[in-house]
Point group: D2
Chain length 428, copies 4
C-alpha cells in the first residue's frame, strides 16, 4: 500500500523577481496536497516514517522567474476537440495580460504542426480583443492536429521566436510531446518553460481527479441517450444503441448512465463481457420490458472485437468500431432467434466534442488557465496543472502519462451504474 | 394557369346535433379559403368565370354529426418519429373531453399494427390524466410502425370496437392507408369518420403550407451544422458533412442553410448536380477558405448515386445513403489530388426526430388537434387538417397525396440559399 | 366588408440599371398578393367591380434604381431589444455586399440618436467580417435608444454622409419617425430611400402576419411559465404569476398559453375583466386544484388599473405595472378570505427580449433583410417589408402604423386559449 | 491549527442482518476520509499524536440494521426549491426498492407540515412507477414548506406510521429540525433513523464540499447575466444588474462571475463595501467602457442596507432587498452626477431554483440518494450525507449546522473573481 510516488516538479530556477500581482494571497512556499485521503493509508506512511506522496499546490507565488516586460509566450492546442479549449486559451491570455502585464502571446495554428516550419502556418498574435468572446464557441480558435512533429524543429521555432513559456493544451500524446520538447530544451540549456493543461474529454489522465470538458460531454451525451430511449420506446422491440467516447476508460459512459436513468446496458473498456452473455441479457430485457437502451464506450469489448492493427496519427491503436460491430451482431442474433426488432444506432461523438464548455467547465477552464500561467511565471516546467482533493496542483508530465486512469470495476461509481441500469454484474 | 383543383371534402352526413361548445364563435357554413393568393391568378379565374380553387375553413361548427355521449374515438400514430406527435395526441384527447364531453378515446399501439388482431396489441385508454404531460416528451406514447396492414382487418377492428372517429397521424403512406380505410368504410356503409393529421417532418405534403415538427427539426439540425462548422474550422482543410432528412424535398436542408449561415453547400433532391461539378466547387472553396460545411438532404443526388432497387416497409424506395457516398467520394477525390483533408461526417437524423416539439410547434399541434376534432365531430371524413394562407383548412386526402410538395428551384427560398451559401447555382 | 385599403408603395423613380443578380428569378413587375384570402370576400370585390386590396410582392427586380458602385447605405436599430436584430443587420450587409456589390454600409449607433450630431456618436463601418457572427448574439450590435430625434437634423446627416438607402429596424414609433424622415427627404427633393424592417416582439403591426423575434419570445416565455408552474405546484395553495410583453396586443401571452399548457389564466389587453371576477375565478381554481398559473400581458386590465398619465421617451403611455398590481391584489384578497397562499411573481421581460433569434426566426430575419435590400435597391421608399399569406410583401409605412394589430376575442386563437386554460370566457 | 473536530456519527445499533446487496464491494468497516488535505497540517496532527479529524466514508456495508421486509420509510422535502430534489427522491425510492427490497416508502407532503396532523396532508405512497420520470421535472413532487413544526407531533406521526427511516431533504433549518426529531426519538427510545440529504442551492453547508443543485444554479444564472450584458451593451451608459441567490455566502455569484466573463462587479456577503466606494468604481467603469454588469448576491452589502428586523417562516432574518436597493441608489447617484444611464434590473431567482438538475447534478443526486439509503439501512442516524476530497461521507448534523460555509476572501476563488471582473479589491 505504501508507495514511493514522487510528484516533484521541475523548475527552471528560483524566481527572483517580485510578482506584480497586487494584494494577492500568495501560495505559501512548499504548500502541498496529500495524495492519499484515506486515514488508514496516511497512518501507514507516517507510522512507517515514509514521505507521504503529495502534489505541489498551484497558485501565484510571491516571486516570479520571468520578467513580464520581456516575456513572449506561446500556446498550442493538439489532438481531438474538447469543450473548453477556447476558454483555456482565453484564460491564459487574459491572465498573462491583466495579472502579469505580458503583452506578447502567440498561438501556434493546427497543433504541433504550427511549431514546425514545413506547413507554413503563421503564428497568430493573441490579444485580449482577439480572445474576448472565443469561449462562447466550441472547438479551438487555433485549430488542431493529431500526432507529434520533429522535436528539434519545434524547439528551433521556440528558440528563434524567443518564446519563454509554451503552454500545451492536449492529452496523453500531446503531453509526451511536451515532455520531449522539455527534455530537448534542457539538453540545449534553454530557459523555456513548458506547461501543460491536460485535455481529456474521457477524464482518463492519472493523478488528476477532474479534467475540463468531461462534465459538458456527459451532459451533451444525454441528448443521444434520450433519443435512443424515445426511439426504443416508439417501436415494438425497440433497441437504442449509443456509442460514446472512451477509448481506454469508460467514465463518460458510466456517468451518462448515472445521469440519465434510461440506460439499461452500459459497456466500458474496464469491464469485459462476452458477446453471448451480452446478447442473452439483452434478449431477456426485451422479453420483459419490450425495449432496451445500450450505451457503449468506444473502447468497450475490445477482446470481443479483435484489433485492426492500425494506429491513428497520434499513435493510438485504431479499434474496430464497437458501435457498428454491436449493431450488426444484434441484428444477426435476433434474426436467428426470429425476433423482429427495430434498432437505432446513434454516434454523437462529433456533436458532443465540438460544443462550448458549460458554465461549470467554463469556470474550471478559467482557473486551470490562470494556474498554468502562475506555474509558468514561476519557472515550473515539464508539468501539467492538476486537480486533487478540491485543490489545483502541479503534476510532473512523466507521472501524468505513466499510466491511464481507469474506472474501478469494484468502486462506487461502477456499483451505482450496475444498480441503476439493472444490468447483470457479469455478462460472460 | 387556371386549373380545376377540387378540394371538396367528404362528409358522413349533415350534422343535426347542436354543438355543446358554449359561446364559441362558430365557423360560418361554407367559409372557404382561396387557394391562389396571387392577384393576377385570382383575376384569371374570375374573368374566366371559373370557380376559384379553395379549401373549406376548419373550425367548430354550430351543429355536430356525432352524439358525444355515445361516441368512441381512436387514435393511431404511424411511420417515423416526428417532434409533436404526443402534442397532437394530447390535443385530440383534451379537446374531445373538455370541449365535447367525449369520454372514451383509445390509442392503437404501434401504428396500423394496433388496428389488426395478429400482433395482439391491446388498445390503450387515453384519459386526460394519461395525456397530461406527454407533450414534454419526444416520440409517440402510442408507439409506431411503418407500412400498411390489411384494410379489411383494420375496418373490422373499428367496427367491432364501435369506433366513430379514427384519427390517423402520419405521412403520405399513412394517409393512403387512411383513405383506403375510408373507402372500405364507405363500401360497408359504416358511419365512421377518418380524419388525418398530416405528419411530415420534411414538410412535403401538397396543399399544406406548414406541417408540425418541421420547424423544430430545422432548429435541432443547427446543432449538427454547428458541430460540422467547428470541426471543419478546427482542422487544416477541414470538411464538415451533415446529412439531414428530406427524401424527396429539401425543405429542412434549405431552411437549415438559411437559419445557420455556416453552410457552404446545400444539396437537395430538387436540384441536380454532377459529382465532378460538386467536387470541383468544393476544391475551390477549400483553396480559398481552408474549410467547408456541406449539408445534404437524404434524397439529394439520386441520379448520381443510382437506386438500390429496394423498398422500406412503408413502400418508399430505399436510396443509397448519400452521406456515406459523398464522404467516400470526397475522400477519394482529395486523395487523388494529393490534398490532405480532415472530414467529419455527422448524421443527426434520430436525434432530430425524437425531440419534443418546440414552443411554436407545440402551439401549432394543439390547434391541429383541436381542428381535427372539430372536423371529425362534424362528420367530415377522408380528409386531413391543412394550413393555408394563415388559416386552418380541410384537405381531401386524395388531393394531399396526389403529388409531393417540392422546393421550387426558381423560387425565393432557393434563391436565398444560393445567396447565403455562396455555392454555384449550377454544379454540373 | 368591401374596403378601399390602398397598399401602393412610394418609389424614388423607375429603376434603369440592370440588376447585377446573376441567374436570379426576378419578381415579375406588378406581381401582387391579395389582402383577403376568404373566397366570399374576394367574390364581393370582383362582383362589385372594385379593386381587390393587395400588396406588392417583395423580391429582386430585373432593374435597380441605385448604382451599387456609388451607393452608401445606413442602418439604424431603434426601441426595445428584440431577438433577431443582429440577424437582420447581418442579412442587410451580406446581401448588399454579395448580391449587389455595395461596399459601403454604415451603422448609426444608439438608434435615431446616432443620426443626429448632438450625441457625438460615430457611425460604424459594417463590413462582412464585422457582421460575420453577430447573429449568434442577442441585442443589437449598434445599440439602441427610445424616442425620436429632430427630423431635419437626421436628414442633414443622411445628406452630408451621402446615404442612398436608410434601413430602419424598429417598431411603431420608429416607423413613424422613418415616415417623417421620408417626408422631409421628399420635401428636400433628395434621392434617399427609407426602408423599414418591422420590429415588434409583440407581433402587433397591422397588415403583417408575422414579425421577427415573436416566435423566439413565445418560446423563451416558456421558461418563466414552467417556473411559475413548478413553484405553484411546490406549495400549498401555490400561485405562479408571470408578466409577459404585450402593451396593446396579447399575442405573446396567448401563444404562450397555447404552447405551454400549464397556464390556467391568460389575461390580455383585448379582453376586459373585473378584479372581482378574476379573483373569484382564481379562488375557485385554488379550491378545486390547489394551485394556479396566471400569465398577464403587460397591457392587460388597463381599465382595472387606471392610467399613470405618464409617457415613455418613445411616446407610449406608461401603464401601471399589471404584474405588481395583481400580485398585491391577490395577496390582499386571500388575506381577507383567510386563505394562506404562496405566490411567486416572475417578470422575465429582459431575459426574453435579449436572447438571439431561434433557428426559424433567424431564417426569417435573413429573408426580411434580403427583401429590404431588394426593395431599397429598386428605389422603393417610405415602406416596410411585410409578410402575408406566406409571401414577403411591401407595405407603405402610413398603412402599417395606421392602427394596431389586435388579437380577435372571437377568433380561433382566443377560442383555443379559453379551451386549453379552462378559464371562464367572461370574468367580469 | 490542530483542532479537535469530531465527526463521529450516531448509530441506532450494530447491523446484524446480512445485506441483500449481491456482489457489491462493501465499504470496509472503519474506513475514514481525512478532513485536512494539506500535507503540513496532517504532519502537525501526527507529530502531536493527536487524532486527525476524519469522516466515516459512505457506502453499502456488509450488514444492515433494518429488516427490509418489515421496513417502512418516509421522505420529506423542506424549504425553498432547488434543482435536483426530485432526483434525490427518486434515487432513494429506487435504491430502497431495487437494492434492498424495501417496498413501502411514503412521501410526506409540503415539508414538515406533512408530518403533523393539523394540515390534513395525506402521505403519498412512492412506488417505482410513481417516481419513474420525476427527475425530468423541477421542484419537488412532494411539495415543500418553510419552517419547523411541533417536534413531538412529528415523532408521533413517525411512531404511529411505524416509519423506520426518515429521509429529510433540506437546508440548515431543516437539518436542525431533523436533529431535534432525532433527539426526541432517542428520548423516546425509538428505533427510527433520521438521515439528511443536504439541500443548499447556495452550497453553504459546512464540512461538505459540494451540494446538489449548486452547479445547475450557476449554469442557469448565466442566462440572466447574459441578458444583463446584452441590455447593458445595447444602451448608452447601459447598466445590467442581476441579483442572485446567496443569503450568507456568495458562492453562486462568485462562480457565475468566473463562468461568465461579462461580470464587472461581483458583490457578496463575505466582502464588505461602502456605497460610495462601489458607486465611484461603477462610475469609473462607465466612463472607460460605456457599460457595466453587476452581480449581487442576495446577502451582499448587509452593513450598507440595515436589517429589517423581520424573520421569514424558516427563522432566517429577512434582509432588505439588495437588488432594489442598489437599483435605486445607482439611479439617484447618476441623476445627481448628471449622467444619463439605462439600468435594467433582473431577478432570476425563481427561474433558477425551479429547473431540473443538469446531467452532472443529476448523477450526483443519484449517488447522494443511494448513499443516504446505505447509511439509513446501516442504522446511522442524526447525520447527513456529505462529499469531501472526492468521496461521499457521513457528517453528524450538529457539525453540519454548527456554522456556515463561507467563501474565503483571501482564497483562490475570490482572487480569480477579482482578476476576471477587474473590479477593485477594495471598494470602501
Amino acid at each position: 500500500m505504501v508507495s514511493d510516488l514522487n510528484f516533484e516538479v521541475s523548475s527552471l530556477g528560483k524566481g527572483a523577481i517580485p510578482s506584480p500581482l497586487k494584494g494577492s494571497s500568495f501560495a505559501k512556499v512548499g504548500e502541498r496536497v496529500a495524495f492519499p485521503s484515506s486515514l488508514s493509508e496516511l497512518k501507514e506512511y507516517f507510522e512507517a516514517g515514509k514521505p507521504v506522496p503529495s502534489f505541489e499546490r498551484a497558485g501565484p507565488g510571491e516571486n516570479i522567474y520571468f520578467d513580464p516586460s520581456k516575456l513572449k509566450c506561446g500556446i498550442v492546442t493538439c489532438g481531438g476537440l474538447c469543450p473548453g479549449l477556447n476558454s483555456v486559451i482565453r484564460a491564459i491570455v487574459l491572465c498573462l495580460h491583466h495579472s502579469y502585464g505580458v503583452r506578447r502571446v502567440y498561438g501556434f495554428p493546427f497543433g504541433y504542426e504550427g511549431l514546425t516550419y514545413r506547413y507554413g502556418h503563421e503564428p497568430v498574435e493573441l490579444t485580449t480583443a482577439f480572445v474576448d468572446r472565443i469561449h462562447q464557441q466550441g472547438g479551438t480558435i487555433l485549430g488542431s492536429s493529431r500526432g507529434n512533429q520533429d522535436i528539434g524543429e519545434m524547439v528551433d521555432t521556440l528558440e528563434q521566436m524567443n518564446i519563454g513559456i509554451l503552454f500545451t493544451i492536449g492529452g496523453d500524446g500531446t503531453l509526451r510531446g511536451a515532455s520531449a520538447i522539455s527534455d530537448e530544451i534542457e539538453r540545449r540549456r534553454l530557459k523555456i518553460a513548458v506547461v501543460g493543461i491536460p485535455k481529456t474529454i474521457d477524464n482518463d489522465i492519472s493523478y488528476i481527479q477532474r479534467s475540463f470538458g468531461f462534465a459538458t460531454a456527459v451532459s451533451e451525451a444525454g441528448r443521444a441517450i434520450n433519443s435512443a430511449y424515445i426511439e426504443a420506446k416508439g417501436a415494438r422491440n425497440g433497441i437504442g444503441l449509443v456509442k460514446l467516447m472512451g477509448r481506454e476508460s469508460g467514465f463518460i459512459a458510466a456517468y451518462a448512465a448515472l445521469a440519465y436513468s434510461d440506460v439499461n446496458f452500459c459497456l466500458i473498456p474496464e469491464v469485459s463481457f462476452t458477446l453471448e452473455g451480452f446478447l442473452n441479457a439483452l434478449h431477456e430485457r426485451l422479453k420483459k420490458r419490450g425495449h432496451a437502451v445500450i450505451v457503449a464506450a468506444e473502447g468497450a469489448g475490445q477482446d470481443v472485437l479483435g484489433k485492426t492493427g492500425e494506429r491513428d496519427p497520434s499513435g493510438n491503436i485504431r479499434f474496430q468500431d464497437v458501435g457498428i460491430f454491436l449493431r450488426d451482431q444484434i441484428h444477426s442474433y435476433f434474426k436467428q432467434t426470429g425476433t423482429e426488432i427495430t434498432l437505432k444506432y446513434i454516434d454523437p461523438s462529433y456533436t458532443i466534442r465540438s460544443i462550448p464548455a458549460d458554465a461549470n467547465d467554463s469556470a474550471f477552464c478559467l482557473l486551470l488557465g490562470q494556474n498554468a500561467v502562475h506555474a509558468g511565471m514561476a519557472g515550473r516546467t515539464n508539468m501539467v496543472v492538476g486537480f486533487w482533493a478540491n485543490e489545483f496542483t502541479h503534476v510532473p508530465i512523466p507521472m501524468a502519462v505513466s499510466k491511464r486512469k481507469k474506472l474501478d470495476p469494484e468502486g462506487w461509481v461502477w456499483n451505482s451504474v450496475i444498480s441503476i441500469t439493472g444490468q447483470p454484474k457479469e455478462m460472460g
